[in-house]
Symmetry: C2
Subunit: 362 residues, 2 copies
Amino acid sequence: MKAPVNGAGSNLTGDNNGEGDEKKSVINPELWQTCAGPLVNLPAAGTHVVYFPQGHSEQVAASMKKDVDSQIPNYPNLQSKLLCILHSVTLHADPETDEVYAQMTLQPVSSFDKEALLRSDLSMKINKPQTQFFCKTLTASDTSTHGGFSVPRRAAEKIFPPLDFSMQPPAQELVARDLHDTVWTFRHIYRGQPKRHLLTTGWSLFVSGKRLFAGDSVLFIRDENQQLLLGIRRANRQPTNLSSSVLSSDSMHIGILAAAAHAAANNSPFTVFYNPRASPSEFVIPLAKYYKAVCSSQISLGMRFRMMFETEESGTRRYMGTITGISDLDSVRWKNSQWRNLQVFILDCVFSLVLAKMGGLK
Amino acid sequence: MKAPVNGAGSNLTGDNNGEGDEKKSVINPELWQTCAGPLVNLPAAGTHVVYFPQGHSEQVAASMKKDVDSQIPNYPNLQSKLLCILHSVTLHADPETDEVYAQMTLQPVSSFDKEALLRSDLSMKINKPQTQFFCKTLTASDTSTHGGFSVPRRAAEKIFPPLDFSMQPPAQELVARDLHDTVWTFRHIYRGQPKRHLLTTGWSLFVSGKRLFAGDSVLFIRDENQQLLLGIRRANRQPTNLSSSVLSSDSMHIGILAAAAHAAANNSPFTVFYNPRASPSEFVIPLAKYYKAVCSSQISLGMRFRMMFETEESGTRRYMGTITGISDLDSVRWKNSQWRNLQVFILDCVFSLVLAKMGGLK
DNA sequence: CTGTAGGCTCCCGGCCGACAA
DNA sequence: TTGTCGGCCGGGAGCCTACAG
């Protein structure tokens, strides 16, 4: 297996040498990132990371809508967290649903030096290029067969090529590519009273082709070459409990643990998939991030914290919260795992968010 | 976990207590069997079976279109075949694709007595009730939006309720339920010059709802209560490589082996899924069938054999063949597994079938 | 500024028999 | 016996403006 160790700068690779997709099309990293959302941060290839089998297991449970059973055997030699080199990160999108996910090849290592920590820290500080984009949640009118897509004025002016306003009405043909490099063309027209931007011809093909419904979101970005790209974010529907007809969830969880245990015992590489929108758990953490969380700032009851949330318009928003409890979720199986320490943040924060909403605050 | 040990007679249970499907609808066993095809024979719940981890692994590889990697660790304590009690067999159908599959709960046992062998043998000899049905491969005209479905004359007369021929033209409304108990209604009319049976109104909804294309098959059966049921069999398209975004194929294969090894070590139950149309490998074999194959008739080079094949019209057809080679596929990992002995039959037979076709024989 | 509804047009979904394989 | 085609009719997909939140 190839093990390209890149510098800290190349934190996103679009190479597609993984299993699954047959097409050779290279996923556009900017589009992938935009579809994944602003909160998703992939570790950089070639840097050190900490892998949490427990968190990995949780993601599979979430995507199958099934809790972890008690039938799973213990792997006494498998630690709750594995220090690894991240050999490669490749970006993917489900050909059916356009769901974005990443494939990571990890190799357990026994120790790290100061330089590794420094590189991990550096890679986190690389600013992602702020791609120009807009994202709109589809209305009933947008998805009905009766009409087209109403483009928010600011969005059209920021992202779309400028119209020739000498035409009556001003109109042009837009060409945009999706994650699979499929080309979609739309008639973009500026008309009506009051005037507005609309996508008409071609829009309904896109809606039916992607099986979009009101509540789903569509996003357009303009890449560095001024090319128009588009992607989707589906509303949180029930997981399609994929793959439940192939492998029992028990076998899946055992497979995760056994694969990690085998890799740890042999220091051999192994492969995981990370679905940023399937579950909130980031189970592959940059070494520097882990180090800071554990060493520098001790977590204690009553401590206050800030947390980012993704808003509907795909911006970010900060909320304050307080830690109300700290415990290991499964202290028998995972001694001193620190996994739930991180989780406590999220749960508590969602809870305070709910309280704030109930209280009518904003 | 419940472990209902039924008599040999109840070889198909429609109980749905498995994971995956949320709906409580009970799968009709006759319809499931018809969709699975005439060659599929599920072992009876409560009887003894032999489980082949290697064959199970092959099914997963087939449904993911990925060969087994060499990264898989050895499980020195896992035998190539496990004697098990089959606690339960539940029938399922994928809610998206209607693909049929079965969930089986197995429990390794260390030995069996004469009565167990007898029961296994008896359960195999239970004749399945020969359900009245017909199956037709859809033509371009059947699936085009331009028209309806042309029903073969014999099929209509055998399966559909008789028309009132005093009407001009004779017509009626057909109501049929699918595997998910969804109701489909069609206008059945007998018209044209020459006269023929057609399904018109309602047909296109069915085609688009099930996403059928020319080459796929549709089948109608009449159950014991004279109710009309219908199902589909999709043409062999490339596997939709389900679930490749959830778990790496390595982890899946490890999961299968580790789950089996764990169950064997503890004599604890485990769960497998069997997709009859995803791969030809039956990896859960009735004890009696295994016993006969291994003990009574020794297999040798040059031996001639007969084999059943499924024809397009879902009948069966016999072909003759000769065994040209016997070997273990992976004799290092699976010592004396006998798995490929069975496989040799199939490969050789397909090969001779190809030769026959190339030679213009029929 | 933008979501929804009403109006209008015309394309294609869908029912028919003709014809030939 | 049955697959495909040309004919044809009508409903709805799809483009437009009006209006209101």
